[in-house]
């Protein structure tokens, strides 16, 4: 029935923190997630994508305007229309925290804002180079797990989310969500503390690794999900077992109130709208109750208030 999941809208924040050609795979990771959430129904207006580099138009890319997840060119994750909200040097820790907490300058356009509310489910996906307790942004700076946890707490305090699915594909990824303390967050990391996350395979045509293992298998799983599918988050948590990932996928569920086995994957990856059938209509006569007065109002105030 209507309203059993408790959220009314979905948002996705997808972040690639590393630039340069040899980090092609990180851009491919983020674009894989972007492709999935968009295909499953989250519109561009509700996706904040941060890409530190433009691989599709890189002169070294032998296949311009495309980014593949596989050397056999199975899926072009760049797709036909990609909306990047923060790119290149705009991808900084500061901008990321500003987006999450909403502390943006007033001039920031709507497309660069996370306008979520107390009924928003947010998917946060991050990838890049990390270590124990940090994720590096662009070789210049890093975000620590303490800062990340504080950012979520500020979001919770201001009721900027209903539930968060936090996915991070980086080395020692688990350390990033160990410091979280705000409710309703479920975390998935591609590796445990002390482990490296590995890439999937090299594409000889581009000369570098093309995608990371965890994201590769996550995308493979997501490709089988449709907007009306009944696949659960529990199934997604089991994606990429050790023999595929070579690192151990870590999961943190203690902050999350619901049982992941009963949570639909589309609660985070898709945007299945709640709907309510309209039973009652308002009966309106042909004349307004007081046409003179209403015209006056339209004339006296700014026209845009009427139209």
């Amino acid at each position: 029935d209507f309203f059993d999941s408790g959220h009314t809208n979905n948002w996705a924040v997808l972040v690639d923190t590393s630039r340069f050609w040899f980090n092609y795979r990180h851009v491919a990771n983020v674009l894989s997630m972007y492709r999935s959430v968009k295909r499953l129904g989250i519109p561009d207006s509700h996706i904040i994508m941060m890409l530190a580099d433009d691989m599709a138009c890189n002169p070294r890319n032998p296949r311009p305007a495309s980014v593949y997840n596989n050397a056999n060119q199975q899926i072009n994750v760049y797709g036909d229309d990609v909306e990047v909200d923060y790119r290149g040097y705009e991808v900084t820790v500061e901008n990321f925290i500003r987006v999450m907490t909403g502390r943006l300058p007033e001039s920031t356009p709507r497309s660069k804002r996370l306008l979520s509310d107390d009924r928003s489910n947010i998917l946060v996906y991050m990838t890049g180079h990390g270590g124990d307790g940090f994720l590096k942004f662009q070789d210049a700076e890093e975000i620590s797990n303490v800062e990340m946890g504080d950012a979520f707490e500020q979001m919770w305090q201001k009721r900027r989310y209903h539930e968060v699915l936090y996915i991070i594909d980086t080395c020692q990824a688990e350390s990033m969500f160990q410091t979280f303390y705000s409710p309703n967050i479920i975390g998935i990391a591609s590796s445990k503390v002390g482990e490296d996350s590995l890439s999937h395979h090299v594409d000889p045509a581009i000369g570098v690794y093309i995608i990371d293992r965890y994201t590769y298998f996550a995308l493979e799983f997501l490709e089988s999900v449709t907007p009306d599918s009944k696949k659960t988050l529990g199934q997604f948590l089991r994606v990429c077992p050790k023999y595929q990932c070579r690192s151990t996928v870590a999961v943190r569920t203690d902050l999350f109130q619901r049982d992941p086995e009963k949570v639909l994957l589309t609660d985070f990856f898709g945007s299945v709208r709640n709907v309510e059938i309209t039973m009652e209509t308002l009966s309106l006569g042909n004349e307004t109750t007081n046409p003179q007065m209403s015209n006056q109002v339209c004339r006296s105030v700014n026209m845009s208030d009427c139209f």
């Binding site: 519109p43 207006s45 620590s144 209903h162 709208r273 309106l284 009427c306």
Partner: protein, 454 residues
Amino acid sequence: MEGPKVSYRCNVRQYFNEEMLTYKEATTLSSFDDALEELKLLKENGKYTFVLIPEGEVVDPGDRGYIGRHRSAFLRSSKDLASLVSKISGVMREIFAAEKVIAKAWNTAVGAVHQQADKDSMRALQSQPNGYEITFTLLNPQPSHVRASWNIQEATKRYLSPLLSALHDYTNIKVKSQYLHSTNIGVRPKVDQVGGYALNIDQLPHIINPIEAFLGSHVSNNPNLNFILYIPLRDQSPLFIYNQNGEKVASNAFLSPRWGGFLVHNVRVEENASLPVDVQIDERPVMQVFAAQLRLLLGVSPLHHGLAVEEAPAGNAVITDWELDLWLRSHCLENLASSVATLNSLAQLLEKIGNIVINDDIGREVERAVEQIQISHTALSQGQLRDAYLSSRQAKQFSEKAFFDPSLLELLYFPEDQKFAIYIPLFLPIGIPVVMSVLQSLKYLRKKNKQKME
């Protein structure tokens, strides 16, 4: 959690002569209601009149009683005082003041308990002091078949201006409209038994997403409500929405909470008409659906009270006066609760991150917010609903501004737990020569002392 306290004051009086005259002239309850409202010199939010009418008169509220479009209720007077009093207090507490609704508004905004799925609090947009946007879209996937047009500007003026002017003092609503051609919904309707096409309830959630991207980007940061009038494809008409029991939905419309409404508008095209067919849409039935949805989405929810009492429909006014009061009251409480919560969490944040800098601007915003909260409290306790709402709206604006101030993040690169790491590269290179020279000079002084001693 404790809800807000509500106190009532009442007085009883005889009718005035003018009121008696209008009463004699009136033929129906609703005309009497309107005439009474005209007489009132002071139209005050939050003050209600109960009119007791003896049995057997022309204008008869019946056993159940009648609630007018303005701020009056009409009851049949009776000797049984106890039941009369309980009726009056019931109407007062459950309809005019709607204690349950305002308590819920308060509790949701305080946010301590995040209730599970709750229709009324999820459907309507949260109180937005800056205002709302409304976009009407005529979605016509086959303009080569039907060339539809509507006079939405005229329709908005005619049917929505009472609502817009009622809310004009309290919030800022902007209305826009657009045509959207050659874009289709994401689902394929099934054939139904009666020669039409059916959209089942489980298909409805997937309709909106594919068109969402084409609905346009918004310049403003205020929440937007979309109302979509959809003309089905030629080979999918007529198209009907079916509910969970497999019955046709009379309105042929649905709403999506905090997003907007969707209405299917079937167009009849003759077999051998030359294409495209020009269609002028009759706005009245369309606006009847959209206005009902708009009420719900703006937070004028049904009350779910158990009282047997007849309510006058809002009709052309779209919102009745007492509904407007209720809207003001619950939004006022929501604003107050959320600005208090915002200031609280700002204070908590400062406690945790001790070296954060609060510049004078933020300090001023906080002071202003507190001041407005106090003004609003006083006004509320005196029953001045309008002033209370306006202050609460400002309080929310100020407190949000303080909380979301970009300067609060300036210390991002200076976190407490990394102070050492920040200082070391700065002071170590300077520190070494300083320490070395201090040691040297100590050594020198000691030597000198020794020499003196000798």
